[in-house]
Amino acid sequence: MEKLFYEQLQEELYYEKMPNGLDVYILPKKGFNKTYATFTTKYGSIDNQFVPLGQTEMKRVPDGIAHFLEHKLFEKEDGDVFQQFSKQGASANAFTSFTRTAYLFSSTTNVEKNLETLIDFVQSPYFTDKTVEKEKGIIGQEIRMYDDNPDWRLYFGAIQSMYKNHPVRIDIAGTVESIAEITKELLYECYETFYHPSNMLLFVVGPVDQEKIMQQIRDNQARKSFKPAMEIKRFVYSEPEDVAQAKQVIPMNVQTPKCLVGIKAKNVSHIGKDKLKHELAMNVLLDYLFGKSSPHYERLYSDGLIDETFSYDYTEETQFGFAIVGGDTAEPDRLADELKKIMLTFREHSLPDQDLERVKKKKIGVFLRSLNSPEYIANQFTRYAFHQVSLFDIVSVLESLTCQDIEQVANECFNESQISVCQVVPKNARE
């Protein structure tokens, strides 16, 4: 077991790679009631074409299958795993993102029992024709719920406007039609390929004894046998640098229009600290331009073009990266023009040093605050680990950022051809 100490943050982290390839991290947190654990596979909604374990040909699977699999893993021959967790006083959950599927529990008692339950249920799939069919009704309603949610439709609309081919443009849950094609055989095939321990990471954070927990995990894994680890071959989509369409308008049953501007990023394939640097540079840039202390925010707010729903966010994975900026607005076209103008004219200016320092200070404080949250630590640590960098390097990388770094990402991304607009407008009010 390896010990990593982050002095400034007063955090100790323990790491070990199991013989079967599983990465295990333990972060003891004294003073907390809760222990939080996540068991995550590097497998998400975008992995819809790959070579299944033991085969040689690429295979296209139905959209939404990673998410469907996440739901189905909770059901076993002797019932529902939720029941078992709650008997042990824990609350359990799971989520599927573009690139990851995570299973988790939190509990204030019976931590070892709950950890055993978590590892075991994820490592023992049980799918039948009957339970697969039953789940289609439940997930169908989950999809319907999102269909009626204008913010979700706007978000995916924005991604679809940016991405022409890459499956990031497909809704994580798929569609009612695509999930109809899912069978138990397909679920097993995906499971065997992506749930190999060597493709997974287990993170435990809470008031735990690291030695005891690590031993428990070693023993648990030693009892199970897995096929030898193989490199997973995932299809690499070719995606143009330009956006798929400059503008998309979605009429819906809403009263207030919504507008998001999407910026398709370049150079997202870095790994390690370069990845972190690229991502943080973009985040700092967006904060500088659109944060509540920026002159642009004040102007847009006092012009009545934005309200408190205004937000900005940057997502970067290995095969895609995009920023989105916007929110509810009375004038979606004017807001889109203003936001584009802010970005395109930034390229002509430079970033003043004192502004960069202010944004960095803010980011460091925000990061410290996130460390109050075991959920944040486990989820984000896992995400960064999959990109071969540590969450706890954020402060040092932030401190090292220069104005040139920020200007470079701006020059890379703020081009008319990389910007698209998506709007949700009230039905019958379409231009």
């Binding site: 400034q8 943050l9 947190k29 003073g31 907390f32 009631n33 809760k34 529902d80 939720f82 029941q83 709650s86 008997k87 042990q88 006083g89 609350s91 939190s106 509990s107 204030t108 008692t109 039953k134 289609k136 009704g137 439940i138 997930i139 309603q141 989950e142 319907r144 719920m145 269909d147 009626d148 204008p150 049953n253 809403v254 009263q255 207030t256 944060g291 509540k292 202390s293 925010y297 004040e298 707010y301 009545g304 309200d307 408190e308 729903t309 509810d328 202010r358 944004v359 200070k361 803010k362 980011k363 460091i364 404080g365 925000v366 410290l368 605050r369 109050n372 949250s373 075991p374 039905k427």
Partner: protein, 425 residues
């Protein structure tokens, strides 16, 4: 367990909680008054005006830049209804300098900032700045309207409107759209001064703090004049249900939203409150509960099917998203679950399981500064103190008979269904 110390300072109740588990220090200020038609919209506007500028940092941009300089201190405000009380909350959260390379004292600045926001707002001609008030009126209108676009929230709000017609609880937490325009910077400033005198006020300070030092800070920064807290609890409206109200509303939606309201006639201050919590846990609070198992897992009708309590008004609310054509089926399954509860058709295992989950949920909530304050503030709202340890002990002692007794007090009031336009012209 965390110790809460309460000290009255200048008409303000200061709650301090010392702990070294966080990397930040948190200040939460709450002011509370009865929900009334006359004040609800002004109160909904007030904190947003206050957070838009102080005497020292007179614009939102200046104030936000100052927060950035304080290592990204956060400032946020919100409004809640607890029973028939309307609560304004202002939170400041700031990094603990011991985790920073540059260790300027930050907590002092945070206390001063919070006091400036509450007591030294940006003014012009002895009233609030007109430009700020007008901007925030516009934002308030958008906030009120945005509920319409979020169908889950909308259905919940409509249920309350229908169920509590004529009761203060039916008032909207963000105020009434029609009353926004008539507010002026002068009238709002007048209301602000009145509220400063009359509201019940609580300040929570949580973190790695020196309690005596912090109290001195509060004493020097929070100076109120002529505080005369007039806000005493108004008696809760009681309603006799004569027949169940069924409301069906049609809109262009794909999924139907089914929201059902019950009256429990049990609130936080009643002895039966713990049994009600356990009841709710077995009935619909969790993913092992009857609603989840029967509506979702067995009948495959929904993705979500759950119930929750409004602890100070004594309401129980069920919510589920279903295919419009499954309305009757879902309603009848939900009614069957309630009947089962009344008859005592639940196992001892379900009781044990539910208690374990409630206990866990409470302990987890206490791990976040925000959750901790919300748990403790129930004691202020209800005027019945329930220390956390007592809460857990009493909940663990709840018996099957007590749960059945509670179940039999629960009355169905309103069934609200937001459904699609299919079959309509």
């Amino acid at each position: 367990m965390l110790k809460e110390k309460i000290t009255a300072v200048n008409g303000l109740n200061v709650h301090t909680i010392q702990t070294d588990k966080y990397k930040t220090n948190t200040l939460v200020f709450k002011m509370k008054a009865p929900l009334t038609k006359e004040t609800v919209t002004q109160r909904a506007l007030l904190p947003y005006v206050l957070q838009s500028g102080t005497k020292t940092h007179p614009t939102a941009t200046a104030l936000r830049s100052y927060l950035d300089e304080l290592y990204g201190a956060t400032l946020n405000v919100d409004l809640t209804k607890k029973g028939e009380q309307h609560i304004i909350t202002i939170r400041v959260d700031i990094a603990n300098e011991k985790f920073l390379k540059d260790s300027a004292p930050l907590l002092n600045k945070a206390v001063q900032l919070l006091s400036d926001i509450i007591l030294q707002p940006a003014l012009e001609n002895g009233e609030f700045v007109a430009k700020i008030v007008e901007q925030e009126k516009r934002s308030l209108k958008q906030r009120i309207q945005s509920v319409y676009d979020d169908k889950m929230r909308y259905a919940n709000l409509r249920l309350i409107e229908e169920m509590c017609k004529g009761e203060p609880y039916a008032l909207h937490v963000n105020g009434e759209l029609k009353d926004v325009d008539s507010i002026t910077s002068k009238s709002l400033y007048g209301y602000y001064q009145k509220a400063l005198q009359e509201d019940e006020m609580d300040l929570y300070i949580i973190g790695d703090i020196d309690e005596a030092e912090v109290l001195d800070l509060v004493k020097s920064y929070f100076q109120f004049e002529n505080r005369a807290v007039s806000n005493r609890k108004s008696p809760m409206t009681k309603k006799t249900i004569t027949n169940v109200n069924e409301v069906i509303e049609k809109q262009d939606v794909k999924q139907g939203k089914l929201n059902i309201g019950y009256r429990t006639s049990i609130t936080y201050e009643d002895d039966q409150y713990y049994a009600l919590q356990v009841f709710n846990g077995i009935f619909g609070g969790f993913s092992h509960s009857k609603l989840f198992i029967n509506v979702r897992e067995k009948a495959s009708l929904a993705y979500y099917a759950a119930s929750r309590l409004e602890s100070h008004k004594g309401l129980l609310m069920v919510m589920s998203g279903i295919e419009p054509s499954n309305y009757e089926k879902a309603v009848s399954i939900i009614k069957e679950q309630m009947e089962a509860m009344k008859k005592g058709a639940f196992t001892d295992e379900e009781i044990v399981q539910t208690k374990a989950v409630i206990r866990n949920q409470l302990l987890e909530t206490l791990d976040t500064p925000r959750g901790l304050v919300e748990v403790l503030y129930h004691n202020v709202v209800s005027e019945r103190r329930r220390p956390v340890d007592e809460w857990i002990d009493a909940m663990e002692k709840v018996t099957r008979e007590e749960i059945i007794e509670v179940a039999n007090k629960i009355e169905l009031d309103t069934i609200y269904f937001l459904t699609g336009m299919e079959g309509e012209q």
